[in-house]
Amino acid sequence: MLSRTADHLFWMSRYIERAESLARLLDVTWQMSLVPQSLEAANQNWKAIIALNSLDEEFAARHAAVNAENVLRFMVSDTSNQASIVSCLRSTRENAHAVRGTITSEMWETMNATWLEARERSFEQIANAGVGEFFDWVKMRSSLSRGTTLGTLLQDEAYHFIRLGTLLERADNTARILDVKYHVLRPHGDEGATDFYQWGALLRSVSAFEVYRKAYRDVITPERVAELLILRSDMPRSLHFCLNGVVKNLELIANRQSGETHRQAGLLHAQLHYARIEDILERGLHEFLTDFMDRIYTLGDGVSKDFLVPMAEAA
């Protein structure tokens, strides 16, 4: 397969996953902000989203104050912000357009229609209808894209690059949500009473609330939330689950220069596979997640260098 084709497929799936993750993150922040708290504390949560995406400067250039409305406007429908949901949906569509001969017509029509519909909605319309409804729509469109991919695409190299993009992006995003929210919820790492609603919102943001109930049949504790989102291998948005898929798909597309990337993915996978949540928390969750995100970034970089960026012409 052409490197450029693989590149478009990889990024097509990353962008739609990113739009979904962003919708989830904004949704949980929005829900948490509805719980009584000081205005300062609330704005702190919104600020964390901007910081998380390293968008402080761009945001400051457009908005004077960090508050719910400004952050939502900036992250939902600001087309000049490359990281906004609408921009991600546009990038998805553009990447799909470039490879419409490789993906199935149903995939193309789904991603094209998502962008056409998103483009029609102003921020005011979204806000009036309730941002929650918009976030649900984004999640649904992302599910539809994934579903048509799974249901119609031949499971060849194209499919493996799409899965790889989805899983790397998702691993990164779950780690981010957990990092920023865990921090806010337990700023001092103490063992004080935990807020059921806040943890519940976090779980719901990664569709893990019911899963938690089913898996633990007990009250929600921060340790278990961390364990579920990091170590459960059968929970579709956990780090462990994502790495299972990353390693498997890397194996399927291997070429003669991808050995090191594969080794690193395998190592990271093994560490998740054999880790205990007590050890991770003792070492410090923030440190663990920062290290994890760095390594995911390195993996993405490796995939780029091994497959997507034109190979060394000397080869």
């Binding site: 490197s3 690059f161 034109p310 190979m311």
Partner: protein, 470 residues
Amino acid sequence: MNFYNEMVDASGGVRAHYQGYDQWLRATPPERIARKRAEADLAFHRVGITFAVYGEEAGKERLIPFDIIPRIIPASEWTAMQAGLRQRVRALNMFLHDVYHDQEILKAGKVPAEQVLNNAQYRPVMQGVNVPGGIYAHIAGVDIVRAGAGESYVLEDNLRVPSGVSYMLEDRKMMMRLFPELFASHKVAPVQHYPDLLLEKLRAVAPKGVGDPTVVVLTPGAYNSAYFEHTFLAQQMGVELVEGRDLFVKDGVVYMRTTQGPQRVDVIYRRIDDDFLDPLAFRADSALGVPGILKAYQAGNVTLANAIGTGVADDKSIYPYVPDMIRFYLDEEPKLNNVPTWMCRKPDDLAHVLDHLAELVVKEVHGSGGYGMLVGPAASKAEIERFRQLLIAKPDGYIAQPTLALSNCPTFVEEGIAPRHLDLRPFVLSSGECVNMVPGGLTRVALTEGSLVVNSSQGGGTKDTWILED
């Protein structure tokens, strides 16, 4: 002006080859027709069979209108036309070979040397280069119109990157889907094997010694007006659709960059103009091309279809000489008519043209796509005056032809069924001694009442073209 009607003769009777269709049309309830037309529109939209229009908002895509009344040509007529097309394209390829080798036709004085050698489309880099089978225009799109009492003329030989064949194929698919009963009752010659024929031709012109050639389609990218067609042809042939940046040249060999490493490329069906093909040889600012590809081509390590430099044979300043080419190379009389042409670079011709601007069609020598032309009878006084100034300022940039009374064909328009003017573009494929085509071609129809310009960029539509066995 009297126009030849493809369906109805002068006395109002339906022509023999349209009688079956006419009966069907009369017997079919209008509601069913309306429903089917809406269905066709929807299907074309959803599949995204669109083209981009230059000058409109970037990335904007439009649908080419499709008309459900087919353009029907009896097989006997097509057989004659096909023989004429073979003859013409063969002579054009021989002309190109000659121009880039010994230039016998120039020495014989049949075509003025300066018209060829000073032509912007003449590529000195091709001088002395041998191409497989001596074929330059592997794919030719020859525009044919019918005028006057029904005689045919060649309007234009498109030998660079002619487009439209995907519409020919999609139109047929749509007609068969909408009205299968018509195909049961008519013996319509099939066209769906075009991609196979094309692939066969492309493989046949691979560099010597390559057993199983790798063929690719080279596109300028997703924002090109014909991008749909590029993806369509690549998909139908089962070959990679590449952009310039997917290819690179090393030691005179062209490779594509794949996830498994570099892969050698043998034949490139390129849908990029000469000027953008190689920034090292032509336009240095081209980001679409492949640096060094000309050298690989000259060395015979890769075949380009069409060849570089074919524009010198389809230029409007060379067009008037095609009948002489046929006589010179094949020692035959041309089977297809040329439109009488005034070459404004000649003072006598210019004087005549300036005196008759209101009756003539004036075209830019290097123009295409229906841009930059004057249709005298339909033009305003101001437009005619503007062209008068252009002609006086740069006479060698223009030719003029009589305004042909293009034939028309009943077509669905807003107010019902009305006659609209049309042309035909058969796609002629050459490799070595063989010149082949699928029966018919793309029929383009001018949807605006009275308009003689059928180009899709100017609001033209298309019809399915039927070559009908008796």
